[in-house]
């Protein structure tokens, strides 16, 4: 059984909690005692949305505060679902959830069509290059299961997707409340000939990233028998085996792989995204923060980045502000050099801006106090992504993607 990570996003009141509740309920991830708890608190029938409320403040205020992670499984697949609330700080939450997702499930209310928030969610899925997108047009029961309403929203999303570079997108008309096209095919919409949502989630191919040169960010160096040294880390891309020519970055030292280990011990070959350790042939100096890369396909170390950042911090940032940048396992001082344009989700243009505020997404230039070996995010997510940490609060204040 394989694993699919998905992120769900939607505007307030579009029925996302009900949909997730239904997926959990119908896949039997909800057990009797949890159900009893929901039954007790449901006012009218079984309110599946109550399955996903977590914290007391949320129950008291009837809102969702933070990204919640839930697991469920069907006989075909194991799922980890990042539930991104549409309420406050939706960009921050959606970016967080989408960063680890193979698939983004975007909910659109059939009566509302594409709202500003839906446009924002779609744009984030595109910017973070989420591999698959499913647009679930919900509350079809409230528009009389009308095909033309669905078709209109499909047309709008396709137009938007072309402008923002959305990946493979599927469309499914559903009613989370009534269960239409969630687990069972709906009898109300014979005009829809695709699979119901759960079947689509079970069958979307989860492909490992297109194979290219190995990337191993070194987390730490382990000592083995006879003083051997093993570079341990999670393989971000590609594979490694004995004899492979590699380069250690940013120093540029070239050598070969002598032996590789996976979680079960010595191995012939190790593949991304496993946690591995490797021993190199020469006694090269190795330390946390270095990147072991395939010698014939290695990124160039740099002290300057052009990137897209999502601002997650409460305090605005301006050019000249300093941060700590974490890329892979390497942390270096960083200075925001310029803000070159901030996305306007209505026009999808990137007009100039003076500063970065919470939930902004912008093109920036960053100067670094040390070299990092980064790929373009589009080529390799794991070595093209970074975070910025505020030196005084120690909070994570930005998510970045190298252009």
């Amino acid at each position: 059984m394989d694993l699919l990570r998905l992120a769900t996003a939607g505007s307030v009141d579009d029925g996302k909690s009900t949909l997730i509740g239904r997926l959990l309920y119908d896949s039997k991830a909800v057990l009797a005692d949890q159900l009893a708890h929901v039954e007790e608190r449901s006012v009218d029938g079984l309110d599946l949305a109550l399955l996903t409320d977590g914290l007391r403040a949320e129950r008291e205020q009837g809102i969702t505060i933070d990204v919640a992670y839930r697991s469920f499984a069907t006989p075909r697949r194991r799922f980890i679902l990042a539930d991104c609330p549409g309420h406050a700080q939706y960009t921050r939450n959606m970016v967080t959830g989408a960063s680890t997702a193979d698939l983004a499930l975007l909910l659109v209310d059939a009566r509302q069509g594409l709202t500003e928030q839906s446009r924002r969610h779609a744009a984030i899925a595109a910017l973070l290059e989420v591999e698959h997108v499913i647009v679930a047009v919900n509350k079809m029961d409230l528009v009389g299961y009308a095909e033309d309403v669905f078709d209109g929203i499909v047309r709008d999303v396709i137009e938007l997707g072309a402008a923002i570079g959305l990946h493979k997108t599927d469309f499914i008309p559903i009613s989370a409340l009534k269960g239409d096209n969630v687990v069972e095919r709906s009898a109300q919409m014979p005009w829809y000939d695709g699979p119901p949502l759960l079947e689509r989630l079970e069958t979307v191919p989860v492909e490992p990233p297109a194979v290219h040169g190995a990337r191993l960010p070194v987390q730490l160096v382990l000592r083995g028998e006879g003083g051997t040294r093993w570079a341990a880390g999670r393989l971000a891309a590609g594979s490694l085996k004995a004899g492979d020519e590699v380069v250690v970055l940013p120093s540029g030292t070239r050598t070969r792989v002598a032996e590789v280990r996976d979680a079960d011990g010595l191995a012939e070959v190790v593949d991304a995204p496993l946690s591995v350790s490797v021993r190199l042939e020469d006694e090269v100096d190795l330390a946390r923060g270095e990147l072991i890369a395939a010698a014939d396909d290695a990124p160039s170390p740099t002290r300057e980045l052009t990137a897209t950042v999502c601002w997650l911090g409460d305090r605005p940032a301006r050019p000249g502000d300093r941060f700590q940048l974490k890329h892979g396992t390497r942390s270096v001082p960083a200075k925001l050099d310029s803000v070159d344009g901030r996305i306007d989700f209505e026009s999808l243009e990137w007009p100039g801006a003076e500063e970065l505020r919470l939930n902004d997404i912008a093109h920036v230039k960053i100067r670094l106090g040390g070299e990092i070996a980064a790929d373009a995010y589009a080529r390799c997510h794991a070595t093209g992504a970074f975070i910025l940490v505020d030196e005084s609060s120690l909070d994570t204040v930005a998510a970045g993607m190298v252009s």
Partner: protein, 305 residues
């Protein structure tokens, strides 16, 4: 570059890789981590993951057991054997000592439990050993407030968790920085379910304390749950001990951990039973979570595991 197709990674392999990554990241970025070890299945899985994370080297941090004094003897025997055979270091924080020192007051009455007292002992142990990170075996499927907690959860000077001030976690880039006095709780198996844990135990052929398998035990019924008779629990009127075939789904204090009726005496039998169950492990076996609707959330805010 051409894409070549590789067989799909199994979900246990993917979860294992993620957990090892988290363990290594915290060990690399923090000075003094420890692994909170209860003798329960989740912390036993954590120990195996830590061993894998640092092989061929040794696990570079100690285990920390918060000992309520109300343990199942089988669990303590298991703990000591594991520590000895696996060349691990064990630290123990004693709730009895916290009581003797006047740091906490023992609850009284037939429903008395040392569950809540553990928090003080835990925070004292963290201060005494100057720990700046503690690995825990908590999982997001266990209980509702857990679903909102980060893999790396920041605790302030008082050990408190503030759900409104959590750091966003993006990709696998964890921010493990802490200020003096603060510490991290790290939950490497956050995304695992109870069934994943059991499947992993079966796959890795991990040894468990014997109470996880069906055995004959003297028990009594209270609030619809079966509890073992012991020196730590006082029977109330009408509670009659009897012998039944039971096993435990979770391991906590003898005073608040319930048993389930079962004849599953082997690991495959237990895995099959777990896959078919329709009640959560905490709902079925933990009196501590039944007390109030937000019981776990309240204890976590105070610094609980």
């Amino acid at each position: 570059m051409t894409a070549i197709s590789t067989p799909a990674l199994s979900h246990l392999r993917a979860l294992e890789a993620e957990a090892i990554h988290v363990i290594r990241e915290v060990a690399a970025e923090r000075e003094r981590p420890a692994l909170l070890f209860s003798g329960g299945k989740d912390s036993i899985v954590l120990v195996r993951l830590a061993q894998k994370a640092f092989a061929p080297g040794k696990v570079p941090f100690p285990l920390l057991h918060i000992d309520t004094g109300h343990n199942f003897p089988e669990v303590i025997a298991f703990r000591d054997k594991l520590v000895q055979e696996s060349d691990l270091t064990l630290l123990v924080g004693s709730v009895q000592k916290s009581i003797d020192d006047g740091r906490v007051r023992e609850e009284t009455g037939p429903r008395a439990s040392r569950n809540r007292l553990q928090t003080v002992t835990l925070l004292d142990a963290i201060a005494e050993h100057r720990l700046d990170a503690c690995f825990g075996g908590a999982r997001r499927d266990e209980e509702r407030s857990r679903a909102k907690e980060r893999v790396l959860s920041l605790r302030d000077d008082f050990g408190q968790w503030d759900p409104r001030r959590q750091r966003p976690e993006l990709w696998d880039l964890y921010n493990a920085r802490v200020r003096p006095g603060e510490h991290l709780r790290a939950f490497p198996i956050s995304n695992w379910t109870e069934l994943d844990v059991w499947q992993y135990i079966a796959q890795e052929e991990l040894e468990l304390p014997s109470i996880y398998m069906a055995h004959e035990r003297e028990v009594f019924e209270r609030d619809g749950m079966l509890y073992a008779t012991s020196d730590f629990i006082t029977l109330m009127d009408g509670e009659e001990p009897f012998t039944a075939s039971v096993r435990y789904r979770t391991v906590g204090d003898m005073s608040c951990t319930g048993a389930v009726r079962s004849t599953a005496g082997t690991l495959p039998d237990v895995v099959a039973e777990i896959a078919a169950t329709n009640i959560t492990e905490r709902g079925e076996t933990r009196a501590d979570d039944r007390a109030t609707e937000a019981a776990m959330e309240d204890r976590k805010r105070e610094g609980y595991f």
